[in-house]
Amino acid sequence: MSILRKLGKIDYRWLYITSLILTAIPLFVPIGLSVTLSEPVKDYYAAIQALPEDSVIAVSFGGSAALLDEQEAQFLATWKTIFSLGHKVIFYSTTEDGPMILRDHLGKKVIPEDYGYTYGVDYVELGFSPLGEPGQASFAANIRGVYQADSRGTPLDDLPMMIGFNNFENIDLLIYEYTSCTDIEWAIRQWTVPYQTKVIATTLGCCGPMAAPYYPSQIAGFLSGSGAGTELEVLSGNPGPGAAMSDSKSIGILPQLIFIAFGNIAYFANKFSKEDEQ
């Protein structure tokens, strides 16, 4: 019994080191496990697929550099899906990191011009504005009230795509990226409810359970965490960083699960030994 009780007092550093080693192994020796697709991811993809030709997608981008490892697979697979279908895109950033991440993605990793896009005609990048919920409301009602020029300083009226384009009426789908779990409500309150704009969302793994109550009635689909990014890569046929991450997660989580089991075994061993003593 004493051995079982000791399982609850193992030095944490064993957990850390075994997790690190097991997480690293698949990076050198990929396993290539198959991925099962979840309903929110399928619906996210279907929402983009279902758009008529030449639709306009607004991307409210709240990406964070610190959290990029968890979400980059989602972003890259989304950009590839959109560009391969030829839809027009307006990117606007709600975090300071947003424009930098987009510049890296659209400048190096998924270059729109490779898909036949022309800047200002097929896509625009409006840059950062500290929007918050009121800002989302303003953007939906009057884009020029928030942005007079794009991120390069070009007035919106000089961009062919933006001529006569100033509010929700011209937007067929909103892709809402956020990293603060309750922010999903901003999109619902300022886009879905007042204008019935179709919304899909991308977020962190921990925020998925808070997006779920709004799915599928208010948000048509959502991606939460790197796992969903991997699923989208598989679904859309656009391989990316998600696959390697998926293998690492599979193996790296094992010590965590074993330690949770050890903790419970030790707890019950303690409990029953005390009852025996009484």
Partner: protein, 212 residues
């Protein structure tokens, strides 16, 4: 002085709150215009508040340093390093522009990696705290443990391949009990926010003038 500090803020909140409500719930054009104008003000206010926050943070950290300066160099490091990093980023942005290769290099190779490292450090805290606390010591704790484990296993391809039914079980937890509980919480929070809003508009919410 008391009136200026307590009654004027309440009056401002009431006037602007009522204008916003009229803009949202009536079709009178003037209120609609005012609503749109006031909404755009919030972005200016939030931008200013960032600088205000920086001033307050500087002052608070300076006071902390002055109180603890005899205890060692670490407090000086806490005070100085954030400003060095801020200066580096701000300086690169001002000198070269945020589109420059210098700024982008800083962002890609320093800022992003530091951010990722700080986030990754959380793994150690989460892993050891799960070991300590994910214990089925009561029925409530068992429900949390079971729900958390099933949903986690559903997310991992290894377990999707080797545990039959884990995908269905994980989806069910996410989309049935989680949705029911989540919607209940949202409705309760909305009712609470409504009550708070009405109290604020009536000038009865003390937190509006807290510290006055």
């Amino acid at each position: 002085m008391s009136t200026l500090k307590k009654e004027v803020p309440k009056l401002i909140v009431m006037v602007f709150g009522i204008l916003m409500i009229l803009g949202s719930y009536t079709t009178i054009p003037i209120f609609d215009t005012l609503n749109a104008e006031l909404t755009s003000w919030t972005m200016t206010i939030s931008a200013v508040s960032v600088w205000l926050g920086a001033v307050y943070a500087t002052y608070a950290n300076y006071q902390l340093y002055m109180r603890n300066r005899k205890e060692g160099i670490e407090h000086l490091i806490y005070f100085v390093v954030p400003f060095l990093v801020f200066g580096l980023q701000f300086g690169a942005g001002i000198l070269y522009g945020v589109e420059s290769s210098q700024y982008l290099w800083y962002f890609a190779h320093i800022y992003t990696n530091i951010g990722a490292a700080v986030y990754a450090v959380m793994f150690f805290t989460l892993a050891s705290s799960a070991y300590r606390t994910f214990i089925a010591s009561s029925w409530d704790a068992f429900a949390l443990l079971a729900g958390g484990l099933i949903y986690t296993l559903r997310q991992i391809p290894l377990f999707q391949a080797f545990i039959p039914g884990i995908v269905g079980a994980g989806e069910w937890i996410m989309l049935v009990p989680n949705v029911g509980g989540g919607r209940g919480a949202v409705i309760a929070a909305a009712l609470g926010a409504l009550a708070l809003g009405i109290r604020t508009l009536m000038g009865k919410e003390a937190t509006v003038t807290e510290g006055a």
